[in-house]
Protein backbone atom coordinates (compact mmCIF):
# COMPACT_ATOMS: atom_id res chain seq x y z
CA UNK A 1 0.00 0.00 0.00
CA UNK A 2 1.40 3.40 -0.89
CA UNK A 3 0.43 7.02 -1.29
CA UNK A 4 1.85 10.11 -2.95
CA UNK A 5 1.20 13.81 -2.78
CA UNK A 6 2.49 17.26 -1.96
CA UNK A 7 4.17 17.88 1.37
CA UNK A 8 2.83 20.50 3.77
CA UNK A 9 5.54 21.22 6.29
CA UNK A 10 4.99 22.28 9.88
CA UNK A 11 7.35 22.72 12.82
CA UNK A 12 7.95 21.17 16.22
CA UNK A 13 5.33 20.68 18.92
CA UNK A 14 2.31 21.02 16.63
CA UNK A 15 -0.38 20.72 19.30
CA UNK A 16 -3.92 19.45 18.89
CA UNK A 17 -5.40 22.87 19.76
CA UNK A 18 -3.71 24.22 16.66
CA UNK A 19 -4.70 21.17 14.58
CA UNK A 20 -8.37 21.74 15.52
CA UNK A 21 -9.27 24.52 17.98
CA UNK A 22 -11.79 23.73 20.73
CA UNK A 23 -14.33 26.16 19.31
CA UNK A 24 -14.99 23.56 16.58
CA UNK A 25 -15.41 20.60 18.93
CA UNK A 26 -19.18 20.75 18.99
CA UNK A 27 -19.03 18.20 16.21
CA UNK A 28 -16.98 15.17 15.24
CA UNK A 29 -18.02 15.28 11.58
CA UNK A 30 -14.82 14.81 9.49
CA UNK A 31 -16.06 17.02 6.66
CA UNK A 32 -16.79 19.94 8.96
CA UNK A 33 -13.61 19.53 11.01
CA UNK A 34 -11.53 19.35 7.81
CA UNK A 35 -12.52 22.92 6.93
CA UNK A 36 -10.87 24.24 10.09
CA UNK A 37 -7.81 22.00 10.16
CA UNK A 38 -4.67 24.04 11.11
CA UNK A 39 -6.68 27.28 10.87
CA UNK A 40 -4.98 29.01 13.80
CA UNK A 41 -1.48 28.71 12.33
CA UNK A 42 -2.23 28.48 8.62
CA UNK A 43 -5.66 29.57 7.50
CA UNK A 44 -4.82 28.70 3.85
CA UNK A 45 -4.14 25.01 4.55
CA UNK A 46 -7.69 23.70 4.41
CA UNK A 47 -8.26 25.38 1.08
CA UNK A 48 -5.01 24.22 -0.49
CA UNK A 49 -4.71 20.62 0.69
CA UNK A 50 -5.74 17.97 -1.82
CA UNK A 51 -6.62 14.32 -1.31
CA UNK A 52 -3.43 12.31 -0.98
CA UNK A 53 -1.24 15.15 0.26
CA UNK A 54 1.18 14.53 3.09
CA UNK A 55 1.68 16.46 6.32
CA UNK A 56 5.20 16.81 7.71
CA UNK A 57 5.84 17.58 11.38
CA UNK A 58 8.91 17.93 13.57
CA UNK A 59 9.21 16.71 17.13
CA UNK A 60 6.29 15.85 19.37
CA UNK A 61 3.64 16.13 16.66
CA UNK A 62 0.10 16.13 18.03
CA UNK A 63 0.98 17.09 21.61
CA UNK A 64 -1.51 18.43 24.10
CA UNK A 65 -5.18 17.53 24.24
CA UNK A 66 -6.34 13.97 23.54
CA UNK A 67 -9.02 15.14 21.11
CA UNK A 68 -9.46 12.45 18.47
CA UNK A 69 -10.97 15.28 16.41
CA UNK A 70 -7.36 16.21 15.56
CA UNK A 71 -6.44 13.16 13.43
CA UNK A 72 -10.08 13.11 12.23
CA UNK A 73 -9.66 16.66 10.93
CA UNK A 74 -6.36 15.81 9.24
CA UNK A 75 -7.76 12.67 7.63
CA UNK A 76 -10.97 14.49 6.69
CA UNK A 77 -8.91 17.14 4.93
CA UNK A 78 -7.62 14.39 2.64
CA UNK A 79 -4.15 14.00 4.12
CA UNK A 80 -3.00 10.47 3.33
CA UNK A 81 -0.12 10.29 5.78
CA UNK A 82 1.64 12.28 8.52
CA UNK A 83 5.43 11.99 8.70
CA UNK A 84 7.07 13.44 11.80
CA UNK A 85 10.30 13.19 13.71
CA UNK A 86 8.39 12.03 16.80
CA UNK A 87 4.72 11.82 17.78
CA UNK A 88 3.00 12.59 21.05
CA UNK A 89 1.58 9.36 22.42
CA UNK A 90 -2.17 10.06 22.52
CA UNK A 91 -2.13 11.42 18.95
CA UNK A 92 -0.13 8.34 17.89
CA UNK A 93 -2.78 5.99 19.33
CA UNK A 94 -5.67 8.02 17.94
CA UNK A 95 -4.20 8.14 14.44
CA UNK A 96 -3.82 4.36 14.29
CA UNK A 97 -7.23 3.84 15.85
CA UNK A 98 -9.02 5.92 13.20
CA UNK A 99 -6.89 4.63 10.33
CA UNK A 100 -4.76 7.70 9.61
CA UNK A 101 -1.33 6.35 8.60
CA UNK A 102 1.55 7.98 10.45
CA UNK A 103 5.29 7.39 10.20
CA UNK A 104 8.13 8.41 12.48
CA UNK A 105 11.21 9.28 10.44
CA UNK A 106 13.53 12.03 11.64
CA UNK A 107 15.49 12.28 8.41
CA UNK A 108 12.38 12.62 6.26
CA UNK A 109 10.88 15.15 8.66
CA UNK A 110 13.98 17.30 8.52
CA UNK A 111 14.83 17.07 4.83
CA UNK A 112 11.41 17.27 3.19
CA UNK A 113 10.56 20.85 2.25
CA UNK A 114 7.14 22.38 1.93
CA UNK A 115 5.84 21.64 -1.56
CA UNK A 116 8.03 18.60 -2.27
CA UNK A 117 6.33 15.68 -4.04
CA UNK A 118 6.51 12.64 -1.79
CA UNK A 119 5.71 8.96 -2.24
CA UNK A 120 5.36 6.69 0.80
CA UNK A 121 5.37 2.89 0.76
CA UNK A 122 3.79 1.69 4.00
CA UNK A 123 4.90 -1.92 3.60
CA UNK A 124 8.60 -1.17 3.30
CA UNK A 125 8.63 2.16 5.19
CA UNK A 126 10.43 3.73 2.22
CA UNK A 127 9.77 7.46 1.75
CA UNK A 128 10.73 8.94 -1.63
CA UNK A 129 11.25 12.65 -2.12
CA UNK A 130 10.55 12.88 -5.85
CA UNK A 131 11.31 16.60 -6.00
CA UNK A 132 14.73 16.30 -4.36
CA UNK A 133 15.57 12.81 -5.63
CA UNK A 134 16.16 11.57 -2.07
CA UNK A 135 14.98 8.47 -0.23
CA UNK A 136 14.51 8.03 3.48
CA UNK A 137 13.93 4.81 5.38
CA UNK A 138 11.50 4.65 8.30
CA UNK A 139 11.68 1.95 10.94
CA UNK A 140 9.14 -0.82 10.42
CA UNK A 141 6.05 -0.54 12.59
CA UNK A 142 5.91 -2.75 15.68
CA UNK A 143 3.84 -5.83 14.73
CA UNK A 144 1.21 -4.81 17.32
CA UNK A 145 0.62 -1.49 15.53
CA UNK A 146 0.72 -3.20 12.11
CA UNK A 147 -2.13 -5.42 13.23
CA UNK A 148 -4.30 -2.45 14.19
CA UNK A 149 -3.72 -0.64 10.91
CA UNK A 150 -4.09 -3.80 8.83
CA UNK A 151 -7.29 -4.55 10.70
CA UNK A 152 -8.68 -1.20 9.57
CA UNK A 153 -8.43 0.57 12.92
CA UNK A 154 -9.13 -0.52 16.49
CA UNK A 155 -12.89 -1.12 16.36
CA UNK A 156 -12.68 -3.02 13.06
CA UNK A 157 -9.87 -5.14 14.54
CA UNK A 158 -12.02 -5.99 17.55
CA UNK A 159 -14.90 -6.97 15.28
CA UNK A 160 -12.59 -9.17 13.23
CA UNK A 161 -11.24 -10.85 16.34
CA UNK A 162 -14.82 -11.60 17.36
CA UNK A 163 -15.37 -13.31 14.01
CA UNK A 164 -17.60 -10.57 12.69
CA UNK A 165 -17.25 -8.74 9.36
Amino acid sequence: MSTSGRAFKFGDNIDTDVIIPARYLSTADPEILAKYCMIDIDDTFAGKVQKGDIMIGGRNFGCGSSREHAPIAIKGAGVSCVIAETFARIFYRNAFNIGLPIIECAEAARKIADGDEIRVDFESGKIENITKGETYQAQPLPPFMRDIIDGGGLIASIKKSRGEA
Partner: protein, 432 residues
Amino acid sequence: MSTQAKQPMTMTQKILAAHAGKDFVAPGEFIQAKLDLVLGNDITAPPAIKEFTKLGQPAVFDNKRIALVPDHFTPNKDIQSAEQCRQMRVFAHDQSIENYFEIGEMGIEHALLPEKGLVVPGDVVIGADSHTCTYGALGAFSTGIGSTDMAAGMATGLCWFRVPEAIQFVLKGKLSEHVSGKDVILHIIGKIGVDGARYQSMEFVGEGVASLTMDDRFTIANMAIEAGAKNGIFPVDERTKAYLENRGKRPSVIFEADQDAVYAQVIEIDLAAIRPTVSFPHSPDNTRTIDEIERMEQEKGAITIDQVVIGSCTNGRLDDLRIAARYLKGKKVAKGVRVIIFPATQKIYLDALREGLIEIFIEAGAIVSTPTCGPCLGGHMGILAKGERAVATTNRNFIGRMGHTESEIYLASPAVAAASAVAGKIANPERA
Protein backbone atom coordinates in the same frame (compact mmCIF):
# COMPACT_ATOMS: atom_id res chain seq x y z
CA MET B 1 5.13 -11.42 24.93
CA SER B 2 7.77 -11.26 27.67
CA THR B 3 9.85 -14.33 28.22
CA GLN B 4 12.34 -12.45 30.36
CA ALA B 5 13.01 -13.52 33.91
CA LYS B 6 11.40 -11.34 36.54
CA GLN B 7 13.37 -8.15 37.00
CA PRO B 8 12.92 -5.12 39.25
CA MET B 9 9.98 -2.94 38.25
CA THR B 10 8.88 0.67 38.69
CA MET B 11 5.56 1.40 40.39
CA THR B 12 3.90 1.88 36.98
CA GLN B 13 5.32 -1.38 35.62
CA LYS B 14 4.00 -3.25 38.67
CA ILE B 15 0.46 -1.94 38.28
CA LEU B 16 0.44 -2.73 34.57
CA ALA B 17 1.87 -6.21 35.14
CA ALA B 18 -0.80 -6.98 37.71
CA HIS B 19 -3.58 -5.85 35.35
CA ALA B 20 -2.10 -7.79 32.45
CA GLY B 21 -1.96 -10.95 34.53
CA LYS B 22 1.83 -11.14 34.32
CA ASP B 23 4.65 -11.43 36.82
CA PHE B 24 6.78 -8.99 34.90
CA VAL B 25 6.46 -6.49 32.06
CA ALA B 26 9.39 -4.83 30.33
CA PRO B 27 9.52 -1.30 28.95
CA GLY B 28 8.55 -1.36 25.28
CA GLU B 29 6.40 -4.46 25.66
CA PHE B 30 2.80 -4.33 24.38
CA ILE B 31 0.18 -5.56 26.83
CA GLN B 32 -3.60 -5.71 27.26
CA ALA B 33 -4.60 -4.44 30.69
CA LYS B 34 -7.88 -4.89 32.55
CA LEU B 35 -9.52 -1.58 33.31
CA ASP B 36 -10.91 -0.41 36.63
CA LEU B 37 -12.49 2.72 35.20
CA VAL B 38 -13.23 4.27 31.80
CA LEU B 39 -13.97 8.00 31.70
CA GLY B 40 -15.40 10.35 29.09
CA ASN B 41 -16.84 13.88 28.89
CA ASP B 42 -19.35 15.78 26.76
CA ILE B 43 -16.87 16.35 23.93
CA THR B 44 -15.14 12.98 23.85
CA ALA B 45 -18.03 10.65 24.71
CA PRO B 46 -20.20 11.28 21.62
CA PRO B 47 -17.58 9.97 19.14
CA ALA B 48 -16.87 7.10 21.56
CA ILE B 49 -20.57 6.20 21.70
CA LYS B 50 -20.68 6.21 17.91
CA GLU B 51 -17.73 3.80 17.72
CA PHE B 52 -19.13 1.63 20.51
CA THR B 53 -22.38 1.33 18.61
CA LYS B 54 -20.51 -0.01 15.55
CA LEU B 55 -19.57 -3.06 17.58
CA GLY B 56 -23.21 -3.99 17.91
CA GLN B 57 -22.65 -5.04 21.50
CA PRO B 58 -25.81 -4.39 23.53
CA ALA B 59 -24.16 -3.58 26.86
CA VAL B 60 -20.95 -2.02 28.13
CA PHE B 61 -18.55 -4.41 29.82
CA ASP B 62 -19.50 -3.17 33.32
CA ASN B 63 -21.85 -0.26 33.87
CA LYS B 64 -20.27 0.38 37.29
CA ARG B 65 -16.82 0.96 35.79
CA ILE B 66 -17.65 3.81 33.50
CA ALA B 67 -17.83 7.49 34.45
CA LEU B 68 -19.37 10.14 32.22
CA VAL B 69 -19.02 13.80 33.17
CA PRO B 70 -20.45 16.75 31.21
CA ASP B 71 -17.87 19.40 32.11
CA HIS B 72 -16.31 20.94 28.99
CA PHE B 73 -19.04 22.89 27.20
CA THR B 74 -21.47 22.97 30.13
CA PRO B 75 -23.90 24.26 31.28
CA ASN B 76 -24.84 23.73 27.65
CA LYS B 77 -22.83 26.32 25.75
CA ASP B 78 -25.00 26.31 22.59
CA ILE B 79 -27.37 24.02 20.67
CA GLN B 80 -24.65 21.72 19.34
CA SER B 81 -23.13 21.34 22.79
CA ALA B 82 -26.59 20.64 24.20
CA GLU B 83 -26.96 17.88 21.61
CA GLN B 84 -23.60 16.35 22.55
CA CYS B 85 -24.58 16.40 26.23
CA ARG B 86 -27.91 14.84 25.35
CA GLN B 87 -26.18 12.00 23.48
CA MET B 88 -24.06 11.24 26.51
CA ARG B 89 -27.06 11.49 28.85
CA VAL B 90 -29.17 9.13 26.77
CA PHE B 91 -26.32 6.60 26.53
CA ALA B 92 -25.79 6.77 30.30
CA HIS B 93 -29.48 6.14 30.83
CA ASP B 94 -29.73 3.31 28.30
CA GLN B 95 -26.70 1.58 29.76
CA SER B 96 -27.64 2.26 33.40
CA ILE B 97 -24.31 3.95 34.01
CA GLU B 98 -24.50 4.97 37.64
CA ASN B 99 -21.47 7.27 37.46
CA TYR B 100 -23.13 9.78 35.17
CA PHE B 101 -23.10 13.17 36.87
CA GLU B 102 -25.75 15.63 35.74
CA ILE B 103 -25.49 19.43 36.05
CA GLY B 104 -26.00 20.00 39.77
CA GLU B 105 -24.03 16.88 40.67
CA MET B 106 -21.10 17.18 38.28
CA GLY B 107 -17.81 18.92 38.65
CA ILE B 108 -14.68 19.17 36.53
CA GLU B 109 -14.00 15.47 35.92
CA HIS B 110 -10.47 15.28 37.35
CA ALA B 111 -11.54 16.97 40.59
CA LEU B 112 -14.85 15.11 40.78
CA LEU B 113 -13.68 11.52 40.39
CA PRO B 114 -11.17 11.58 43.27
CA GLU B 115 -13.67 13.47 45.45
CA LYS B 116 -16.22 10.71 44.85
CA GLY B 117 -13.72 7.97 45.67
CA LEU B 118 -14.03 6.45 42.19
CA VAL B 119 -10.29 5.92 41.77
CA VAL B 120 -8.26 4.02 44.32
CA PRO B 121 -4.60 3.03 44.63
CA GLY B 122 -3.54 0.28 42.28
CA ASP B 123 -6.22 1.06 39.69
CA VAL B 124 -5.74 1.21 35.92
CA VAL B 125 -7.84 4.09 34.62
CA ILE B 126 -8.25 5.41 31.08
CA GLY B 127 -10.04 8.61 30.26
CA ALA B 128 -10.87 10.33 27.00
CA ASP B 129 -9.23 13.50 28.27
CA SER B 130 -5.48 14.10 28.41
CA HIS B 131 -5.52 15.21 32.05
CA THR B 132 -6.71 11.77 33.19
CA CYS B 133 -3.13 11.42 34.42
CA THR B 134 -4.31 13.43 37.49
CA TYR B 135 -5.32 10.26 39.36
CA GLY B 136 -1.70 9.13 39.56
CA ALA B 137 -1.69 11.24 42.73
CA LEU B 138 -3.66 8.39 44.30
CA GLY B 139 -1.10 5.74 43.38
CA ALA B 140 -3.08 4.54 40.37
CA PHE B 141 -1.93 4.10 36.76
CA SER B 142 -4.09 6.62 34.99
CA THR B 143 -3.69 7.90 31.46
CA GLY B 144 -5.39 9.89 28.71
CA ILE B 145 -6.60 8.22 25.52
CA GLY B 146 -8.91 9.09 22.63
CA SER B 147 -12.57 8.39 21.93
CA THR B 148 -11.95 5.15 20.04
CA ASP B 149 -9.88 3.71 22.88
CA MET B 150 -12.71 4.78 25.20
CA ALA B 151 -15.21 2.91 23.02
CA ALA B 152 -13.05 -0.22 22.98
CA GLY B 153 -12.58 0.09 26.75
CA MET B 154 -16.33 0.39 27.35
CA ALA B 155 -16.91 -2.68 25.21
CA THR B 156 -14.13 -4.98 26.36
CA GLY B 157 -12.94 -3.65 29.72
CA LEU B 158 -9.42 -3.79 28.26
CA CYS B 159 -6.92 -1.34 26.85
CA TRP B 160 -3.62 -1.97 25.07
CA PHE B 161 -0.51 -0.22 26.31
CA ARG B 162 3.13 -0.08 25.45
CA VAL B 163 4.87 -0.38 28.83
CA PRO B 164 6.71 2.88 29.53
CA GLU B 165 10.18 3.62 30.77
CA ALA B 166 10.22 5.89 33.80
CA ILE B 167 11.82 9.09 35.02
CA GLN B 168 12.20 9.18 38.77
CA PHE B 169 11.82 12.58 40.45
CA VAL B 170 13.36 12.48 43.92
CA LEU B 171 11.75 15.23 45.99
CA LYS B 172 13.42 16.57 49.08
CA GLY B 173 12.69 19.40 51.50
CA LYS B 174 9.40 21.26 51.56
CA LEU B 175 7.76 24.12 49.66
CA SER B 176 8.28 27.67 50.87
CA GLU B 177 5.38 29.84 51.91
CA HIS B 178 4.03 31.21 48.62
CA VAL B 179 4.90 28.18 46.54
CA SER B 180 2.65 25.23 45.69
CA GLY B 181 2.42 22.08 43.56
CA LYS B 182 1.77 24.15 40.43
CA ASP B 183 5.16 25.84 40.71
CA VAL B 184 6.82 22.44 41.12
CA ILE B 185 5.35 20.99 37.95
CA LEU B 186 5.86 24.16 35.91
CA HIS B 187 9.48 24.17 37.06
CA ILE B 188 9.85 20.53 35.96
CA ILE B 189 8.22 21.10 32.56
CA GLY B 190 10.41 24.16 32.03
CA LYS B 191 13.45 22.05 32.84
CA ILE B 192 12.73 18.97 30.70
CA GLY B 193 10.53 20.42 27.97
CA VAL B 194 7.11 19.54 26.55
CA ASP B 195 8.47 16.25 25.24
CA GLY B 196 10.97 15.65 28.03
CA ALA B 197 8.97 12.73 29.41
CA ARG B 198 7.44 11.60 26.12
CA TYR B 199 6.00 8.08 26.44
CA GLN B 200 7.44 7.78 29.95
CA SER B 201 6.00 7.57 33.41
CA MET B 202 6.96 10.31 35.86
CA GLU B 203 7.39 8.71 39.28
CA PHE B 204 7.59 11.15 42.19
CA VAL B 205 9.33 9.79 45.29
CA GLY B 206 11.46 10.97 48.19
CA GLU B 207 11.13 12.51 51.62
CA GLY B 208 9.62 15.63 50.07
CA VAL B 209 6.45 13.78 49.04
CA ALA B 210 5.12 13.68 52.60
CA SER B 211 4.93 17.47 52.81
CA LEU B 212 2.89 17.79 49.61
CA THR B 213 -0.87 18.04 50.16
CA MET B 214 -3.21 15.89 48.10
CA ASP B 215 -4.17 19.01 46.12
CA ASP B 216 -0.46 19.62 45.38
CA ARG B 217 -0.14 16.02 44.19
CA PHE B 218 -3.25 16.22 42.00
CA THR B 219 -1.85 19.40 40.40
CA ILE B 220 1.56 17.83 39.76
CA ALA B 221 0.17 14.57 38.34
CA ASN B 222 -2.38 16.57 36.28
CA MET B 223 0.33 18.27 34.25
CA ALA B 224 2.47 15.19 33.60
CA ILE B 225 0.92 15.17 30.12
CA GLU B 226 2.37 18.62 29.45
CA ALA B 227 5.84 17.06 29.58
CA GLY B 228 4.61 14.38 27.16
CA ALA B 229 4.34 11.71 29.85
CA LYS B 230 2.12 8.66 29.68
CA ASN B 231 1.36 9.06 33.38
CA GLY B 232 2.49 10.68 36.61
CA ILE B 233 2.39 8.73 39.85
CA PHE B 234 2.91 9.20 43.57
CA PRO B 235 3.48 6.54 46.20
CA VAL B 236 0.66 5.82 48.62
CA ASP B 237 1.40 7.25 52.07
CA GLU B 238 -0.47 8.27 55.21
CA ARG B 239 -1.85 11.36 53.48
CA THR B 240 -3.26 9.28 50.63
CA LYS B 241 -4.82 6.84 53.07
CA ALA B 242 -6.37 9.67 55.09
CA TYR B 243 -7.84 11.11 51.87
CA LEU B 244 -9.36 7.76 50.96
CA GLU B 245 -10.84 7.05 54.37
CA ASN B 246 -14.65 7.05 54.21
CA ARG B 247 -14.32 7.95 50.55
CA GLY B 248 -12.72 5.22 48.43
CA LYS B 249 -15.46 3.11 46.83
CA ARG B 250 -13.27 0.04 46.36
CA PRO B 251 -10.35 -1.47 48.25
CA SER B 252 -6.89 -0.02 47.65
CA VAL B 253 -4.07 -2.14 46.27
CA ILE B 254 -0.75 -0.55 47.13
CA PHE B 255 2.22 -1.03 44.81
CA GLU B 256 5.74 0.17 45.51
CA ALA B 257 8.58 0.42 43.06
CA ASP B 258 11.36 -2.10 43.63
CA GLN B 259 14.45 -0.59 45.25
CA ASP B 260 16.57 -1.52 42.26
CA ALA B 261 14.05 -0.61 39.58
CA VAL B 262 15.62 0.89 36.48
CA TYR B 263 14.90 4.50 35.50
CA ALA B 264 15.78 6.21 32.24
CA GLN B 265 16.66 9.29 34.29
CA VAL B 266 16.73 10.31 37.94
CA ILE B 267 16.11 13.99 38.65
CA GLU B 268 16.45 15.50 42.11
CA ILE B 269 14.11 18.31 43.06
CA ASP B 270 14.71 20.50 46.11
CA LEU B 271 11.19 21.69 46.96
CA ALA B 272 12.56 24.48 49.15
CA ALA B 273 14.40 25.95 46.19
CA ILE B 274 11.33 26.09 43.91
CA ARG B 275 10.33 29.67 43.10
CA PRO B 276 6.90 30.92 41.99
CA THR B 277 7.03 29.99 38.30
CA VAL B 278 5.07 31.20 35.27
CA SER B 279 4.79 29.68 31.79
CA PHE B 280 4.93 32.35 29.12
CA PRO B 281 3.13 32.16 25.79
CA HIS B 282 2.81 29.92 23.89
CA SER B 283 4.11 26.77 25.58
CA PRO B 284 3.98 25.27 29.06
CA ASP B 285 7.76 24.81 28.93
CA ASN B 286 8.44 28.50 28.29
CA THR B 287 8.89 29.15 32.00
CA ARG B 288 10.33 32.04 34.00
CA THR B 289 10.68 32.37 37.74
CA ILE B 290 9.01 35.32 39.43
CA ASP B 291 12.51 36.72 40.06
CA GLU B 292 13.24 36.74 36.32
CA ILE B 293 9.86 38.37 35.73
CA GLU B 294 10.64 41.12 38.26
CA ARG B 295 13.94 41.78 36.49
CA MET B 296 12.11 41.90 33.15
CA GLU B 297 9.69 44.41 34.64
CA GLN B 298 12.55 46.68 35.66
CA GLU B 299 14.06 46.53 32.18
CA LYS B 300 11.02 46.49 29.93
CA GLY B 301 8.03 47.42 32.07
CA ALA B 302 5.32 45.30 33.66
CA ILE B 303 3.32 42.61 31.86
CA THR B 304 -0.15 44.08 32.26
CA ILE B 305 -3.12 41.76 32.11
CA ASP B 306 -6.80 41.78 31.14
CA GLN B 307 -8.05 38.60 32.75
CA VAL B 308 -7.28 36.15 35.52
CA VAL B 309 -8.70 32.62 35.62
CA ILE B 310 -8.51 30.68 38.86
CA GLY B 311 -9.82 27.15 38.54
CA SER B 312 -9.64 24.11 36.22
CA CYS B 313 -8.78 20.45 36.78
CA THR B 314 -5.28 21.67 37.59
CA ASN B 315 -6.05 24.21 40.32
CA GLY B 316 -9.76 24.40 41.15
CA ARG B 317 -9.70 22.56 44.44
CA LEU B 318 -10.37 23.89 47.92
CA ASP B 319 -6.71 24.50 48.81
CA ASP B 320 -6.33 26.47 45.57
CA LEU B 321 -9.33 28.65 46.45
CA ARG B 322 -8.06 29.15 50.00
CA ILE B 323 -4.71 30.27 48.64
CA ALA B 324 -6.35 32.66 46.19
CA ALA B 325 -8.49 34.08 49.00
CA ARG B 326 -5.38 34.87 51.05
CA TYR B 327 -4.23 37.36 48.41
CA LEU B 328 -7.69 38.76 47.62
CA LYS B 329 -9.02 39.19 51.15
CA GLY B 330 -9.73 42.83 51.89
CA LYS B 331 -8.29 43.86 48.51
CA LYS B 332 -9.83 44.86 45.18
CA VAL B 333 -8.89 43.40 41.85
CA ALA B 334 -7.15 45.94 39.60
CA LYS B 335 -9.51 48.12 37.61
CA GLY B 336 -10.22 46.65 34.20
CA VAL B 337 -9.03 43.16 35.09
CA ARG B 338 -11.67 40.45 34.74
CA VAL B 339 -11.15 37.84 37.44
CA ILE B 340 -13.09 34.60 37.01
CA ILE B 341 -13.00 31.88 39.65
CA PHE B 342 -14.16 28.30 39.05
CA PRO B 343 -14.59 26.01 42.08
CA ALA B 344 -14.07 22.59 40.50
CA THR B 345 -16.99 20.70 42.10
CA GLN B 346 -20.28 21.46 43.84
CA LYS B 347 -18.80 20.27 47.14
CA ILE B 348 -15.75 22.51 46.74
CA TYR B 349 -18.09 25.41 45.91
CA LEU B 350 -20.19 24.76 49.01
CA ASP B 351 -17.15 24.33 51.26
CA ALA B 352 -15.70 27.58 49.88
CA LEU B 353 -19.02 29.30 50.53
CA ARG B 354 -19.16 28.07 54.11
CA GLU B 355 -15.57 29.17 54.72
CA GLY B 356 -16.38 32.68 53.52
CA LEU B 357 -14.14 32.41 50.44
CA ILE B 358 -16.87 33.23 47.92
CA GLU B 359 -17.64 36.42 49.83
CA ILE B 360 -13.95 37.36 49.73
CA PHE B 361 -13.89 36.80 45.97
CA ILE B 362 -17.02 38.81 45.20
CA GLU B 363 -16.11 41.64 47.57
CA ALA B 364 -12.75 41.86 45.81
CA GLY B 365 -14.53 42.30 42.48
CA ALA B 366 -13.97 38.80 41.09
CA ILE B 367 -16.77 36.68 39.66
CA VAL B 368 -17.51 33.10 40.67
CA SER B 369 -18.74 30.49 38.19
CA THR B 370 -20.40 27.10 38.50
CA PRO B 371 -17.94 24.22 37.91
CA THR B 372 -16.94 24.01 34.26
CA CYS B 373 -13.81 23.73 32.14
CA GLY B 374 -15.04 26.89 30.47
CA PRO B 375 -12.26 29.16 29.21
CA CYS B 376 -9.42 26.71 29.86
CA LEU B 377 -9.80 25.26 26.39
CA GLY B 378 -11.39 28.33 24.80
CA GLY B 379 -14.93 27.05 25.21
CA HIS B 380 -16.91 29.71 27.03
CA MET B 381 -17.06 31.67 30.30
CA GLY B 382 -14.18 34.02 29.64
CA ILE B 383 -12.72 34.00 26.12
CA LEU B 384 -9.90 36.38 25.19
CA ALA B 385 -10.05 38.99 22.44
CA LYS B 386 -7.18 39.94 20.13
CA GLY B 387 -4.24 41.32 22.04
CA GLU B 388 -5.54 40.35 25.48
CA ARG B 389 -3.47 38.70 28.18
CA ALA B 390 -4.59 36.32 30.90
CA VAL B 391 -2.91 34.79 33.91
CA ALA B 392 -4.51 31.38 34.41
CA THR B 393 -4.17 28.49 36.82
CA THR B 394 -4.97 26.23 33.87
CA ASN B 395 -2.61 23.82 32.10
CA ARG B 396 -2.03 24.88 28.48
CA ASN B 397 -1.16 28.13 26.78
CA PHE B 398 -0.80 27.11 23.12
CA ILE B 399 -1.76 29.61 20.42
CA GLY B 400 -5.51 30.20 20.49
CA ARG B 401 -6.07 28.06 23.55
CA MET B 402 -8.26 30.60 25.38
CA GLY B 403 -9.51 32.66 22.46
CA HIS B 404 -8.01 34.82 19.73
CA THR B 405 -4.78 33.57 18.17
CA GLU B 406 -3.25 36.90 19.12
CA SER B 407 -4.12 36.58 22.81
CA GLU B 408 -1.64 35.41 25.43
CA ILE B 409 -1.93 33.03 28.34
CA TYR B 410 0.50 32.95 31.26
CA LEU B 411 0.16 29.75 33.31
CA ALA B 412 0.66 30.17 37.04
CA SER B 413 -0.23 29.05 40.55
CA PRO B 414 -3.30 30.34 42.43
CA ALA B 415 -1.00 32.54 44.55
CA VAL B 416 0.58 34.23 41.51
CA ALA B 417 -2.81 34.48 39.79
CA ALA B 418 -4.50 36.13 42.78
CA ALA B 419 -1.59 38.49 43.44
CA SER B 420 -1.63 39.44 39.75
CA ALA B 421 -5.38 40.06 39.86
CA VAL B 422 -4.83 42.74 42.49
CA ALA B 423 -1.75 44.22 40.84
CA GLY B 424 -3.13 44.27 37.29
CA LYS B 425 0.13 42.74 36.06
CA ILE B 426 2.07 39.54 36.66
CA ALA B 427 2.97 39.93 40.32
CA ASN B 428 4.98 38.24 43.03
CA PRO B 429 2.81 36.78 45.79
CA GLU B 430 5.74 37.21 48.19
CA ARG B 431 5.30 40.96 47.92
CA ALA B 432 1.49 40.94 48.06
